[in-house]
Amino acid sequence: MPAPQDDPDLAAYPDFVVVEHTADWALRVYGSDFPALLRNAARGMNSLLVEDVSAVGTDVAVRLALEAFDRESMLVEWLSELAYLAETEGLIFDDFDLERATPTVLQGVIRGGRAPALQKHIKAVTYHGLEVVERAHGLEATVVFDV
């Protein structure tokens, strides 16, 4: 979806959209601020991993503490952590209590549960063309996943 750059109305934007990529999967993610961008990116990735996120439990809570060096690297660290938990434990998280979410530090508790089945394997979250850009409506980034 092309982002109308001069549209200040955040409500006009979805949280994320899937964009075309020949070999892999890509998401364009929007957020009113950086924590919102992180949450929406996670939900976008969930949409690739499971068919119905509402079928996932809410009985697992994990405390996270991540470090990075800028907004892009924090976005990659965050999604990589969630992809790792999905691959190794089959866990999907949809509730994000982020106490601190800056480009260099993320602390918080995520809640979710075991997915009945994963429909996609995300090998890695890449930096390809990744840039968190400021728009009139907030922040935007396009993330390419290696699948």
């Binding site: 899937v18 075309e20 990529h21 020949t22 070999a23 892999d24 999967w25 060096f69 892009e72 690297s73 990659v76 660290e77 990589s80 790792y84 999905a86 691959e87 190794t88 089959g90 994963l118 429909q119 996609k120 394997h121 090998k123 890695a124 979250v125 890449t126 930096y127 390809h128 063309g129 990744l130 390419v144 290696d146 699948v147």
Partner: protein
Amino acid sequence: MVRISGFKRLNDYLFEIPPSFRADMRVPARFYADDTLLEEAMDGRSLEQLVNTATLPGVTGYALAMPDIHQGYGFPIGGVIATELPDGVISPGGVGYDINCGVRLLGAHASYDEVAPYLDTLATALHENCPSGVGQGGEFRLDLHQLDQVIERGARWALDQGYATEADLERTEEGGSIAGADAGKVSDRARSRGRDQLGTLGAGNHFIEVDMVDEVYDEKAAARMGLAPGRVVVQIHSGSRGFGHQVCSDYVKRFHGSVRRHNIELPDRELVCAPLSSPEGQDYLAAMRGAANYAFCNRQMLAHLIRRSFEQALAGKVGNHHLYQIYDIAHNMAKIEEHEVDGRQVKVCVHRKGATRAFGPGSPALPGVYRDIGQPVLVPGSMGTASWVLVGTEGSMKQSFGSTCHGAGRTMSRRQARRQVQGGALRRELEEEGIRVRAGSLGGLAEEAPVAYKDVDRVIEVVHNAGIARKVARIVPLAVIKG
């Protein structure tokens, strides 16, 4: 933006973008293609990605793209560059997350006529014995000591455990055990991802396929590999699983600091790199080799499970149910090799990202059985279409750093393929053609539909006519097992 007009035609199958195209290019960018494949490549960002690889510090000769090029992340898939030692860079993105993703080809002693009545049973046995799908663990759970052995010794560990033969290792690139791997350069998280995934196929475009030799083009080379029309073979396409993915992720993160320290300007952050002479460059090389060994061992363990499946399905029903190894090659790897560049013999780090090593006759890196015919090159087509066995040539040594194509190459996005193809209908179509399909996910099956890929026969014509590989045999599918 790269346009057809930006290319100079060097011959019928080779096009070049000169360094004057973009100020940051250090060498020309070359693309092996015919006119149709050149036109198809204009759709998407793969050629821009090729140009980006021509900017990396230490890149020498030219940046290359094979006819199966398609858009990747950082490097294009189907890309080859060589960086000159000692100070040229190594880039984890130039290898990919699935380090040493590759193909193994096994030959059956039984003929198609013998196997045909039992194909359904065989396909089911393969699906049941060879774990596939997302994050799927296998039956070979390793303790940390065993895992370190796999990292440093590769398929040789499998030999010690009774899962391989000496002939299997002899007929594997690097003998299935690349030197210089160091388990100490691998993170705990990579270890945790690697412990239970040995002997598993994974998801995405990975597969096991039972095939039949359809046509032979080089009698001598085919006979050396035991290939003749009607012979049954098995392809394994898999890599280093979560272990390799984590090694790549770890070093992409670490190399961001190297890029800053060494003042390297990059057109794309996924191209992060470090000089091979730097401590971090050497650390990545040692860790990448560990992941490469994991992948060689993974395909070896899968071969063991495939042999078990053949025994279960065919023992006592065919004359000889055993499988022998034809070859095993990597198509995501960085290797230190010597090549001639501008009349000089230089030591380089050849990055092959979705490209296959294709050493010509006489190379000391080849086992005795293949030294006079050239290295076997295994090129899987898209699901349900033909695959190819080629050999490396003198031309590949002179032109392409001993490299050639690795597959058909995608033309359609996964999303578009899901919209256009219905997985269940595709499975029925394949089965109507006599191809048995065992797949974990119908959506995943749709993403890999043949319509989403280039015509592999056209890709092969290009590398054959360009002289960077030679046709040996064309094989067609009988049964496909996917995650």
